[in-house]
């Protein structure tokens, strides 16, 4: 789809957590490429590994997690080979992240102006006065009314939408090449969500930022994505451009997920339900991880579903799927 070299390449990433109950394979063999100016949406339900994928790229995996396998290339830079001090120069500078809950991601004892200015002093070596001037600039860019006054405000004095704008201002301060947004609007009201999504789109147009947008909301995926990765139990189960994914979803999980959401345009008596629950990551099924909940398998049984783990295989140009029923033969 894009001939230019990718900005970010994730190859076969596995991040596991050693717990008393066993090893939780939170991310298990995830691969994708990200190009300049595009938005990749990672969608899935809680525990599917979408946030851990993001934190792995940011080098922020909490203990007892560890990256057991894989490669993360930022242009030619091998992020997993970097020492913490070197990584700190990339993080927040060339790769930035926005978190779900802005009120807990901001430091309550510093003014928001100081917090944004810190990004500039830290990464660009600006003096305090210059940094504050630049901070004012990015606050204007993200549409904060009366930024001179707001500079001196503390996070608790801001609404959720304003705090999220501050987070975006901090993340974009150094004009990063990659922005990772983890459920950036989940804590916000819908009218404010619409404002923040539009802001993200505007800024992306302006700076050509490559964005990874993590969400559980298929509406936001339809609204924002160029390409979509659907994750289930630590793996990508389907990969496609956004129109293909919604027009022609292939994986039984993607299909079931789409039919389980109520939509404003349609009248539905009963919603389709995905029976059962996500398997525990410490005790995954031997075959396909979705097999125990898969309704399509009951119609067209394939013995491999329960015994052999399917690979993510191309089923069309730029469309891949991890399912024996689609890719078997």
């Amino acid at each position: 789809m894009n001939a230019a070299a990718p900005i970010l390449t994730v190859k076969d990433l596995s991040t596991w957590f050693d717990t008393r109950a066993g090893t939780a394979k939170a991310v298990d063999g995830v691969s994708f490429e990200l190009h300049a100016g595009e938005t990749l949406c990672v969608v899935g339900e809680s525990g599917c590994g979408k946030s851990i994928t993001a934190l792995s790229i940011m080098g922020l995996i909490p203990r007892p997690g560890r990256i057991v396998n894989g490669q993360i290339l930022f242009k030619e830079l091998d992020l997993l080979a970097l020492k913490e001090r070197e990584f700190a120069k990339v993080r927040g500078n060339r790769i930035s992240m926005i978190f779900q809950d802005p009120s807990s991601a901001l430091n309550p004892v510093h003014t928001v102006g100081d917090q944004i200015a810190e990004v500039f002093t830290l990464h660009m070596g600006l003096s305090s006065a210059e940094a504050h001037k630049s901070a004012l600039g990015v606050m204007k860019a993200v549409g904060i009314p009366d930024p001179e006054t707001r500079m001196k405000a503390y996070p608790h004095e801001m609404s959720g939408g304003m705090a999220q704008r501050i987070m975006i201002a901090m993340a974009l301060a150094c004009e990063p090449e990659v922005l990772i947004a983890d459920e950036p609007t989940t804590a916000l009201d819908v009218t404010i969500q619409a404002q923040i999504l539009e802001l993200m789109r505007d800024l992306q147009d302006r700076f050509e930022t490559a964005t990874i947008l993590i969400t559980h909301d298929l509406g936001i995926v339809a609204e924002m994505a160029d390409r979509v990765a659907v994750m289930y139990a630590g793996q990508v189960v389907e990969f496609a451009d956004v129109v293909t994914l919604f027009d022609n979803p292939q994986h039984p999980y993607t299909r079931a997920l789409m039919r389980s959401i109520p939509t404003i345009g349609a009248e539905q008596e009963m919603l389709e339900v995905i029976e059962g629950r996500v398997p525990p990551l410490t005790n995954l099924p031997k075959g396909c991880r979705f097999a125990p909940r898969c309704a399509e398998r009951k119609e067209t049984p394939d013995p491999r579903c329960e015994t052999e783990a399917p690979e993510l295989i191309d089923i069309a140009a730029a469309h891949s799927c991890r399912c024996w029923l689609r890719t078997g033969q």
Binding site: E45, S46, S159, G161, M162, D189, V190, T191, I192, Q193, A194, Q195, L197, E198, H216, D217, L218, G219, I220, V221, A222, E223, A225, V242, V243, F246, A256, L257, M258, S260, I261, P262, T263, I264, G265, E267, Q268, E269, M270, L271, E272, V273, I274, R277
Partner: protein
Amino acid sequence: MNALLEIRGIKKTFPVRKGLFQRVKGHVNAVRDVTVDIERGTTLGLVGESGCGKSTLAKVLVGLYPPSEGEIRFNGKPIIRAEATERIDTARSIQIVFQDPYSSLDPRLPIWRSIAEGLSIHHEGDASTLWRRVGEILELVGLPPNAADRYPHEFSGGQRQRIGVARALIMDPEFIICDEPTSALDVSVQAQILNLLKRLQEELNLTLLFISHNLSVIRHVADKVMVMYLGAVVEIAPARQLFNAPLHPYTRALLSATPIADPKLRGRRIKLEGELPSPINPPPGCTFHPRCPLANDRCKREEPRLKPKGDASVACHAVEEGRTE
């Protein structure tokens, strides 16, 4: 169809206290004049963004807050002004399911104790009757009977919300308030709970007040929808009409802001500027006017009243005057 619940002019004001002596420095009008009927066996959907007063209204209805003004009639009987014994009688018939199934169950109690608590408070039956009743209710909400003596942490979010529903149902209520019952759940689990509520409503002829900020969910469950903004009702309409032909500019903006799971409908938005004003110091006139694309001088001065228009009721000068800009 007759109204099971008649809500008449309900207002709820909270004092704002400040300073060393906690003097009253002002008031928050959390709910300003809500009047609506809920017909037996139907679902009223209540939508609005944070701070619009939807949860305060729910708490007034279950009797957790006394209203500052107004009256609520249940089955034709006023329950707000009723004497204590009568209040308890009707209180049983009104139950609530809370948003967060994680914090609304006591982690130290096996779930049968939480489910049976309402019955114990009303001194109903001995231990064996309670136990049998809990078993029946668990089956009704789709949980195995052996779940009864397990603890909340042993259940998933969806199962916990089923327990929340069970706890409401054991009192044999006629009316259940569902306050954001699925917002803490994953979408595939949300579908299970929505289907469960729909099935139970049909089987038990329940009347529901369904509160949500998610318009797609409201579309799915509600027969009639009430939209609130900053404590006041801005529009009430039959669900199909509200979604097909919304009248109030706020309802339209809210619908337009909701992302739709279809990439081909991308980017057609009514953009709403600004944020919700503070309920302590609401704007004069129509409280929506600072964000409204249709606002004029009259909107800044005069607060619109909820007036009938066809099958709907709407509180908007522009709609009343037929103004479109």
